[in-house]
């Protein structure tokens, strides 16, 4: 149940699938046409590398008994921390200071952020955590 070790092959496969999600997300953003979209697409090797690092970090934290070896816990920890980091670094684009928002319009702006970032992060982290939780390759080895 506990993947205390992670093979590079598996990490690379997870990263590959997540990079596909990343590319699809970038392509589906219509207002990123032209050079903005091309620039983000050129960053996909970086996304690949980042996901490998995240996978190893996750297993490392599990070894250190900070993350519980369960799909829900893996998902929630990763999803919330990544969304929070995204929000901290990107909130300026969506919500400015001194705007006198009503609560409704504030939540609308947050909803825009959620649609653009939290949704793809959610899909990617569901993939990562479920792949980390599946130990089919281990059982094959054990047999």
């Amino acid at each position: 149940m506990t993947p205390t070790t992670l093979s590079f092959k598996k990490a690379a496969f997870i990263a590959f699938l997540t990079t596909i999600i990343y590319v699809i997300t970038v392509l589906s953003q219509k207002d990123l046409g032209g050079y903005g979209g091309l620039f983000l697409l050129s960053l996909s090797p970086l996304a690949f590398l980042l996901v490998i690092i995240i996978c190893y970090l996750e297993t490392y934290l599990e070894r250190k008994q900070l993350i519980a070896p369960h799909i829900v816990f893996r998902f929630l920890t990763l999803f919330l921390s990544l969304s929070f980091i995204a929000w901290l670094s990107l909130s300026e684009i969506y919500i400015g200071d001194f705007q006198q928002y009503t609560f409704g319009s504030y939540m609308w702006h947050f909803g825009q952020f959620a649609l653009d970032f939290i949704l793809p992060i959610g899909i990617a982290t569901i993939l990562i955590s479920s792949m980390l939780s599946s130990n089919r390759s281990n059982t094959v080895k054990n047999q």
Partner: protein, 255 residues
């Protein structure tokens, strides 16, 4: 059960400079150290971490909403509350501001008003946003008193020789002119609505005084940087163009 004390000598290698791995393990061990005191169950520990992130997230959202969502400025002084917008036709004792055109459809754009000294006439061209062959250009002519004399339509905007007309001096090409009190038109007060560009560029309502001979016309207008005022010494009226490119005429009361 992990004995964190036993982990320390293995994980923190006594290197001459801190490796990234060492920094991470120091942080992890410290967090584990704190959480170990609370609970020894890995699931409860993880739940606490999740709750902590969630509280930080929601806290950050609420912090932005409550503490960074208001503008520290005095209440609008009572005398400005009665100021009218341009569309509400503000008046003074002898002068009034009225829309230049009774009805303007959305797909029309207007040229800058031009003054023709030989004919003593002001012309404004307007054209529809249609492809070149369908474009209809309308030319409006105004006499120095501000009355519409003539309007004609054509397919093309006539190309004027530079010597035959002069553009009416645009008194307010940018908002800096508003800020320095000027004899003709100036901003008396500004009420902020939202921050446009940090640190100090604001959107809001400007309370404007426009001086026509002995009178002062008072009105309010949003997004001042797009407001223009056209006037010269040969004509008795002034022209205001707002951010929706609607024209308003400033002239003596007709009655």
């Amino acid at each position: 059960m992990v004995h964190y004390k036993n982990l320390i000598p293995q994980d923190i290698k006594k290197a001459s400079y801190p490796y990234l791995e060492n920094i991470i393990s120091i942080i992890v061990i410290n967090i584990t150290h704190v959480l170990m005191k609370i609970t020894s169950n890995v699931y409860t520990r993880n739940l606490l971490i999740i709750l902590a992130i969630l509280i930080c997230f929601v806290g950050n959202l609420l912090y932005h909403f409550t503490f960074k969502n208001f503008i520290n400025q005095p209440e609008l002084p009572a005398k400005y509350a009665a100021y009218k917008t341009l569309a509400e036709s503000p008046t003074s004792t002898h002068y009034e501001i009225k829309p230049l055109f009774a009805y303007v459809s959305d797909n029309r754009t207007f040229s800058v008003p031009r003054y023709y000294p030989e004919e003593q006439i002001v012309r404004i061209y307007s054209h529809t946003d249609a492809p070149q062959q369908d474009k209809i250009v309308t030319c409006y002519k105004f006499d120095p008193a501000g009355n519409l004399v003539d309007s004609s339509t054509s397919q093309k905007e006539p190309i004027d020789a530079a010597s035959t007309y002069q553009t009416l001096p645009d008194l307010t090409t940018n908002d800096t002119i508003f800020k320095t009190p000027n004899k003709t038109i100036y901003q008396d007060y500004f009420y902020k609505a939202s921050l446009l560009l940090p640190p100090d560029t604001w959107l809001g309502t400007g309370y404007i005084h426009l001086i026509m001979k002995t009178d002062t016309l008072k009105f309010k207008e949003d997004d001042l940087f797009q407001l223009s005022y056209y006037k010269n010494e040969h004509i008795d009226f002034g022209l205001l163009k707002n951010r929706f490119s609607n024209f308003y005429i400033v002239k003596a009361k007709s009655n």
